[in-house]
Subunit: 364 residues, 2 copies
DNA sequence: AAAAATTTAGCAACAGCGTTGCGTAATAGG
DNA sequence: CCTATTACGCAACGCTGTTGCTAAATTTTT
């Protein structure tokens, strides 16, 4: 995801990333696998594989005898050749995960954060947490950086927390900059929901298509994966899905509007009617499908996963019940497989993406 | 937008497209203009400019004396070096436009279509319309193709009309294929709203950012421009914005759900209360902003433009009134400048984009 | 056991991209 | 007339993926 000009260096990064995508998706692979997936010539793939092997990112792992002819060399990703740490900063807790190059969560730890914590307090918590998690000097040398998934609004491009909801000391804090200085690590900052959908995209691989992660947890938000990358919007503020109106004359919401999905959902939850709450959320999800035509919807968030089957059923039914939904218009509904780690893991994956993912070309 | 592998040919297409984008955006430009816009070296830009000049797409147009030193060569786009024809296929009418390389609509014509017209009838209407519009053999040689903007559902990638709403003879019609055969022209098929937003993106240039075109005309739809390209969704069905629920217990809609934006809006219109209809639409638009964080919203469609000021005011106010909308979170609301030509023109621009726009890399 | 067929791997030369180094052209000012 | 300044472009270069061809490793056939 590094932003580059369209020179030959872009080609290297792009094709290398495609090979890495194959390596991550398949337990083992060979040159012909990559050729089929990328359309590159075998010779070109050989060059890329040689580079990646030299860097220790992949390694030969035996041979496959094709019945007749010279055996093909089988390769495999070396998951512990690179790591990234992901942080999920919530209002009261800090969750840290250690993710390897394969996207596996190797360690996960939660620590409490002081009420109304300051940037300094967060940095201290991060520093000690990272030290325990990546203590050995050996592992530290393979650490590519720290990804932070956090409640917004924030400015992803500049690594700036504009105004975290419900946290007094977080107005225009240049978190990326001060964290990089304090921790001596590259830092990547993003909205929690966007980090979360990145994690799902890693797990599902190339088949993920256009998708959304729906998160219910002290508010309702959504992360979007559109056209092969995260959609953050013009000001990194996409995903305020809970504050879309679904009941024109509904109850007033904290955001000032009336009948927001979040407040209607909240009332149902307060009344103990989880089934109704789930159906309300499902209406919102179908609204998203009508608008964006998504192939996958992933359900996540602590409050939702507490009643995961209720929500899964309600959303699946609502998606399927739409009469106009022909069989070519299929949307799959999933529960997040990463559970509470989703956001922190996704933040870590974004760091790995910066090094080994598709490079981003400068816009138009 | 041609799909290619990431070889050196991609670089040529990409950087060439960026130079063309500069040429279209500026009336005149010089090498240094392009250098600043692209980050390429002057030498690289010279090579691209030489190619484009040889192809007749741009031409030298005088010199600029920088006060001191050798004068810089000024270049300009040659608008009539290439053309494309755009078609807007609606339920009762066919609108054809001739668009030049600069994006200017050079001719526009509307002809009636028979009630419940068949594919054959449409092809005949297209053939005669194209012949009148691009009659001279000279112009025909500079015609790059035909773009068709049409009501869905359809399959953009395969050029297939799945099931045009309200047209009996349009089930699984391979329109692109048969039109290419019948008209001997490259044909590009897309949803009307997506074509419309492409037209707006061309007009606004690189500053368009994430944006939506809202269209009110025998239904309510939206076209999306996200991350520098059109967002069509997993099955080319994005934009069914009118069938998002805004009133949970609202009136039943043709789509089977209750309280869709479209039916609520329709009731207000029927009651003669345009102001209320506009406010309903505005709620839907703000929903989009909350979800997608758009920088631009363009209002279009015959039914809307008939009361353009009412709608513009209502939407602008709703967008601005949102209390949480800080000054960094600015969204601009516009009326479509192309009026009734927007969709046909956008369809034509998509054809030009295929030749002279950013090439699309194969997905992951 | 030897030869043929088949599949994979990789060296070497190549075309094409943007970059770099540097020489040349065109102008204004002294 | 000389110098500073600005713009332009040839030529060499490094890098990409591609192409042509040879070599290696294996099974099947003779």
């Amino acid at each position: 995801m590094t932003r580059v000009t369209a020179d030959v260096g872009f080609l290297r990064g792009y094709n290398q990333a495609r090979v890495m995508a194959v390596a991550r998706a398949a337990r083992t692979f060979e040159r012909s696998t990559v050729v089929a997936a990328t359309g590159l010539t075998p010779q070109a793939v050989s060059k890329v594989i040689a580079r990646l092997t030299a860097d220790g990112l992949i390694r030969p792992a035996g041979v496959r005898r094709p019945g007749i002819g010279k055996p093909a060399v089988v390769y495999a990703l070396v998951p512990d050749s690179r790591y990234a740490i992901g942080a999920h900063v919530a209002r009261r807790t800090l969750r840290l995960v250690l993710v390897d190059l394969a996207g596996t969560v190797r360690h996960s730890a939660v620590s409490p954060l002081p009420r109304d914590f300051t940037p300094e307090q967060l940095l201290d918590a991060l520093a000690t947490g990272i030290d325990t998690m990546a203590g050995t000097a050996d592992l530290r040398s393979r650490l590519t950086g720290l990804g932070i998934g956090m409640i917004g609004p924030l400015d992803h491009a500049n690594g700036l927390v504009r105004d975290a909801h419900g946290l007094r000391h977080w107005h225009d804090v240049p978190l990326r900059e001060i964290a990089e200085k304090h921790l001596a690590l590259p830092v990547h900052l993003d909205k929690d929901v966007t980090a979360g959908v990145t994690a799902e995209a890693w797990r599902h691989g190339a088949t993920f298509g256009d998708a959304a992660l729906i998160m219910v947890e002290s508010g309702i938000g959504a992360g979007f994966w559109l056209g092969g990358t995260a959609h953050r919007g013009a000001h990194t503020n996409a995903g305020e899905f809970g504050h879309t109106v679904v009941a024109l004359d509904g109850p007033g919401c904290v955001c000032g509007r009336h009948g927001c999905l979040e407040i209607v959902h909240h009332h149902a939850t307060e009344a103990g009617d989880t089934a109704r709450a789930a159906r309300v959320l499902a209406v919102g999800v179908v609204n998203l499908l009508q608008t964006l035509d998504l192939a996958h919807v992933v359900l996540a968030g602590a409050d939702l996963l507490r009643h995961s089957q209720t929500y899964l059923t309600a959303v699946t039914e609502a998606v399927g019940a739409d009469a106009r939904r022909a069989d070519w218009l299929r949307t799959r509904v999933w529960l997040s497989g990463l559970g509470a780690d989703a956001i922190a893991a996704g933040a870590a994956m974004q760091v790995l993406d910066q090094h080994y993912g598709i490079p981003e070309l400068a816009p138009i």
